[in-house]
């Protein structure tokens, strides 16, 4: 059982979290987005060996955040709240 640091609640058991995908998988808007680009956004994942930047959500407090961890050692390297100010 891994311990993940929720930026809001502190270290918690991994069972309290859901995986939210690769961080930085920016959504391309519009119907003119090329098929490959859209397919990449939907389906293509880096699956890195080593350091991975990922979105996770702490299901207890409901907050999404970015976590960096090592997929080999399972060491958690960092976790940070989303800036939450994307809105214009």
């Amino acid at each position: 059982m891994q311990l993940f640091p929720c930026p809001f609640c502190g270290p918690r058991d991994e069972t309290e979290f859901h995986y939210g995908g690769d961080a930085g998988n920016v959504r391309p808007d519009g119907i003119d987005v090329p098929t490959d680009r859209w397919a990449g956004y939907l389906y293509l994942r880096g699956n890195p060996k080593g350091t991975a930047r990922e979105i996770w959500v702490h299901m207890i407090c409901g907050e999404f955040f970015v976590m960096e961890r090592d997929t080999v050692t399972h060491k958690v390297l960092s976790s940070a709240a989303l800036d939450g100010e994307h809105a214009a």
């Binding site: 891994q2 991994e14 519009g30 119907i31 987005v33 098929t35 999404f64 939450g84 809105a87």
Partner: protein, 960 residues
């Protein structure tokens, strides 16, 4: 008479408390403090079980968790199969039975199998999978091979407790190393948890000689435990550390012996100290599996703890120094002892009264049901009633291995030791290869160094100094006779040789091919000899062959421990309606729907189908009452709320006027319809998402994700108010009349409250929200009220409804009503490929100019196929029964049957007097009127494709 109980001694037993239990139907006597094994030994019971494959007689090997042979099935209320007799306390009235033996271990009727052993070597099963036919062998093999038997009638005495625990230092093992580390850590101000799998602490100090700080070892153990207890530290006897998991979580299984289920502990220590000791290995010689051949260290433990002398004429065979003390102690207890040491030089001095034979090893043992003698490699024969062996020590580094610790081979110890350190874990004592108490204590000091230093002096060993000299004695390829490596799974030297010949030389292949180390003991005594033999056969070193992967659990753990409270109803707890008890009083029959426990129907008739049909019919005739409290009520509030719901929904929602509602879809980013429901606009910046009952959590999570990752926390606020309010639905031609009777203090005129609009009123002083939406096709009102005030409202509706022949309907009737109308249920009438235009809703796809979730996916090649499966109604020829849900529409292409879609919902409509059905059929929307073949379980029937709506297609009843 060979093994016996001595007249005095035995630190573990209480001679004032005799006990009796049964083994294979025979009464065995013992004392409180005996294990099943020690009592059997004291009673001179040599054969305690039969081996897995060959039904060879098996005797007690060890005195602890590593036991490969002495497994028993415990009967009665605490029934447990494959219990190790060496760790199970004997208790009065206990009923134990040997494993894989019929009728008893001594007189097993399958013993003849051993004569056919050469026909059933390693991989015999695998080969019969290929040829000639596994199924011919399977039933008999299953009956004859195996170990204990599960009692199918057994039920757990209760839920196992699961405890989360934190401490600074967790010390695993309360032998000299663990006790010293625990005491020093406590002295340094750290919180300590000390666990040991034995009932009393001390480990080898319980029988091997020792003097610590000038006191007998037993006194030092007592003082140390007393000091830890006085300091408030947690001491858990009879507790096994079963595994180390990610981020140094340690699982413990604690036994109680008082009828309670075991307790599972999840410990998060800051530092783990593994003081887990070492396990003695067997020696390889022909017939080394005979009863009466056992671990020398175990015999020593039985002598001191239980006052059991395991034999009168004893051969002690060894390749290392540790057996000398054992031989001396047995000789002192008046046994005739011959000590046979493989080493010619460098041995300790011969113990008093024991005869030392140097430079010799055992070639074979003889005997039928128990050993009666041995032959040395020079041909010398000795009679013996017991043969004790010590083939060296295997450090117990399973937990270190589980934590991904690398192992390092030590020639000096002829064993793997812990290699590079792992963060947060220290391995000390015999587990780290220490032999003398001085070495052990020196390692205990730095064990918790990352957390602090002790100022107290290390304990001092003031007694005789143990030495660790050893000459490896691995099994030798090509040896004569049958030499056992794995006692429990019947793996011999020849089996390992066979595996090598057939090129299963990798250690992981060796394990699977021969089943070496795969039994319930997980090869604690056999793995290292087995892989050393493979090294010898293939000309490699032991570290080149390597070890198999260490995995939890260290010893078998009851599934009840892992299950804890998650059994029965608590396995997947249902969500419950606020009015559940009221519905029950009304006769409701409950079922689980999408995690909610809801009335399926109200049991008006004994026959459920008739009850449901009656509810559906009367709902159309007058007025129906339905508890819709499970419908989602997720509030979206904030300056960007309108833009937010526009993005989340397929349909444009920002054009909705306050006080009005709109039906729409939510899509996934791949375009597939994820949920449907009504969106209510309460105000300029406030919406209520009324999603499907079973989707509330998922929709809520999805709203949060887009809020946080696209719109920003200040743009919208989301509140799941689903359980705040109960929602009671009133539907049918007389619904408005019934509502009027309630006196909700608002105008129910169609001008003030038209279809797809909301209004606020009050009931008994509480605000109510009336939403005029319909899932039945009839005029309907949903009344939402504080959940805790819903009961009087429901009662009032029932009472006032009597004047209109109102009927309470369950979910089953509602399903009929909505299917008559062609209204879909997402996930039932759609699947993981259904796009919105497949359901006939193409407008937003064509017209919308703004971005929304899933939009781009609606314009792919796949989404634009002209042969997509589309929602249709299906009508059967007059007089026929409803189509089976899931039946396929079929067509013949080039003589072969092919599916062209399937039935998704199908009911007998009591109102129409005929079946109605919905389905997803290829190009269905353009094929209304066409008759197709429907196949179910090989039978073919006809159905005509229609529009989805079979009842009131003009929608007049919404306003009737």
């Amino acid at each position: 008479m060979t093994a016996s109980r001595l007249a005095t001694g035995g630190s573990a037993i209480d001679r004032s408390r005799p006990i009796r239990f049964s083994f294979d139907g025979t009464i065995v006597q013992g004392f409180a403090g005996d294990t099943i094994a020690s009592a059997l030994l004291a009673g001179d019971v040599a054969v305690v079980g039969r081996s897995f494959k060959y039904h060879r007689p098996r005797g007690i090997w060890g005195a602890g968790v590593e036991e490969p042979n002495a497994l028993v099935d415990i009967g009665g209320s605490r029934a447990t199969p494959n219990t190790r007799a060496t760790t199970e306390p004997a208790r009065d009235g206990l009923v134990a039975k040997s494993v894989n033996a019929t009728p008893s271990a001594l007189a097993d009727r399958n013993a003849f199998l051993d004569r056919f052993a050469r026909f059933i070597p390693a991989a015999f099963y695998y080969k019969t999978f290929m040829w000639p036919d596994w199924h011919r062998f399977e039933p008999r093999i299953r009956a004859m091979a195996g170990l204990g038997t599960v009692d199918a009638d057994w039920t757990s005495p209760g839920m196992a407790d699961q405890i989360n625990h934190h401490c600074d230092v967790l010390v695993v093992g309360a032998g000299p190393a663990g006790l010293a580390a625990a005491r020093l850590a406590a002295g340094a101000g750290l919180t300590v948890t000390l666990v040991d799998d034995q009932q009393s602490p001390g480990g080898s100090l319980g029988y091997r000689a020792g003097e610590i700080d000038g006191k007998p070892a037993a006194v030092w153990v007592k003082e140390t435990i007393a000091e830890l207890a006085a300091g408030g530290h947690l001491i858990l006897p009879s507790t096994t550390a079963l595994g180390i998991y990610d981020h140094n979580l340690v699982g413990l299984n604690q036994r109680h012996f008082d009828g309670r289920p075991d307790t599972l502990w999840r410990v998060r220590p800051r530092q783990i100290v593994l003081a887990t000791g070492a396990i003695e290995r067997p020696l390889p010689f022909a017939n080394n599996d005979l009863p009466g051949i056992m671990s020398a260290d175990a015999a020593f433990a039985y002598l001191r703890r239980h006052a059991v002398l395991v034999g009168r004429r004893i051969i002690v065979a060894t390749n290392n120094d540790s057996a000398y003390e054992v031989a001396g102690a047995l000789a002192e207890a008046s046994a005739e002892v011959r000590l046979v040491d493989i080493r010619r030089n460098g041995t300790p001095a011969a113990p008093a009264n024991a005869r030392l034979i140097k430079g010799r090893s055992l070639a074979s043992a003889s005997g039928k049901l128990r050993v009666d003698g041995v032959t040395l490699d020079d041909g010398t024969r000795f009679d013996a009633d017991c043969v004790l062996v010590s083939g060296g020590w295997t450090p117990t580094i399973h937990l270190f291995g589980q934590a991904k610790g690398k192992l390092a081979w030590s020639d000096a110890r002829a064993a793997f030791l812990p290699g590079d350190p792992v963060d947060g874990i220290a391995v000390i004592g015999a587990a780290a290869g220490a032999v003398s108490l001085s070495e052990v204590f020196a390692g205990a000091g730095p064990a918790f160094a990352p957390l602090g230093q002790t100022k107290a002096p290390l304990p001092r060993s003031t007694g005789p100094k143990a030495t660790g000299g050893i000459l490896p004695a691995w099994p030798i390829p090509g040896s004569k006779g049958r030499i056992w490596i794995d006692y429990q799974n019947d793996v011999t030297v020849k089996d390992v040789e066979l595996a090598a010949r057939e090129n299963f030389v990798s250690v992981e292949h060796l394990k699977r091919y021969t089943t070496l180390g795969m039994a319930t003991d997980q090869g604690k005594t056999s793995n290292l000899p087995g892989l050393a033999l493979m090294a010898g056969i293939t000309g490699r070193t032991v570290p080149e062959v390597g070890t198999t992967t260490y995995r939890p659990p260290f010893t078998p753990v009851p599934l009840a421990s892992f299950a804890g409270a998650r059994v029965g109803e608590l396995m997947a707890p249902v969500r419950r309606l606020p009015l559940e008890n009221v519905h029950r009083a009304n006769g409701a029959v409950f079922q689980e729907y999408g995690g909610w426990l809801r009335p399926a129907h109200y049991g008006g008739y004994a026959d459920a189908e008739r009850s449901i049909a009656d509810e559906a019919l009367r709902a159309r005739q007058s007025v129906a009452l339905f508890d819709g409290s499970t419908l989602g009520k997720i509030e979206v509030i904030g300056p960007q709320a309108a833009a937010f719901v526009d993005f989340l929904y397929y349909n444009t929602m920002s054009t909705l006027k306050p006080g009005r509602c709109r039906y729409g879809f939510m899509l996934s980013e791949n375009g597939v319809v994820f949920d449907d429901g009504v969106l209510v606009r309460l105000g300029e910046h406030r919406f209520v998402v009324s999603c499907s009952s079973s989707h509330v959590a998922a929709v809520h999570a999805r709203l949060e994700e887009w809020r946080q990752d696209r719109f920003g926390r200040g743009a919208v606020y989301i509140h799941n108010a689903t359980s705040d309010m109960a929602t009671l639905t009133v539907s049918g031609p007389n619904s408005r009349k019934l509502l009027k009777a309630l006196g909700l203090g608002l105008s129910l005129g169609d001008a003030d409250l038209p279809h797809m609009a909301i209004a606020h009123g009050s009931y008994a002083g509480d605000e109510v929200r009336i939403t005029r939406v319909s899932f039945t096709g009839d005029r309907s009102y949903e009344i939402s009220i504080r959940a805790d005030r819903a009961e009087p409202l429901w009662a009032h509706l029932r009472k006032a409804g009597q004047a209109f022949d109102a009927v309470a309907i369950g979910l089953e009737a509602l399903m009929i009503l909505r299917a008559e109308k062609g209204f879909i249920v997402i996930g039932k009438d759609t699947d993981g490929t259904t796009l919105p235009h497949d359901l006939g809703v193409d407008g937003p796809r064509v017209k919308r100019q703004t971005e929304f979730v899933g939009r781009r996916s609606l314009f792919t090649e796949e989404a634009s196929r002209d042969n997509r499966m589309q929602l249709v109604g299906l009508a059967v020829p007059q007089g026929e029964a409803p189509l089976p849900t899931g039946a396929h529409g079929i067509k013949r292409i080039d003589g072969r049957l092919r599916s062209q879609g399937f039935v998704t919902s199908s009911y007998q409509s009591p109102t129409l007097g005929r079946p109605v059905a919905l389905g997803l059929i290829e190009r269905g929307a353009t094929r209304h009127g066409e008759t197709i073949d429907i196949q179910h379980l090989g039978k073919i029937s006809k159905a005509t494709i229609t529009a989805p709506c079979a009842f009131d297609p003009a929608g007049e009843r919404l306003h009737a």
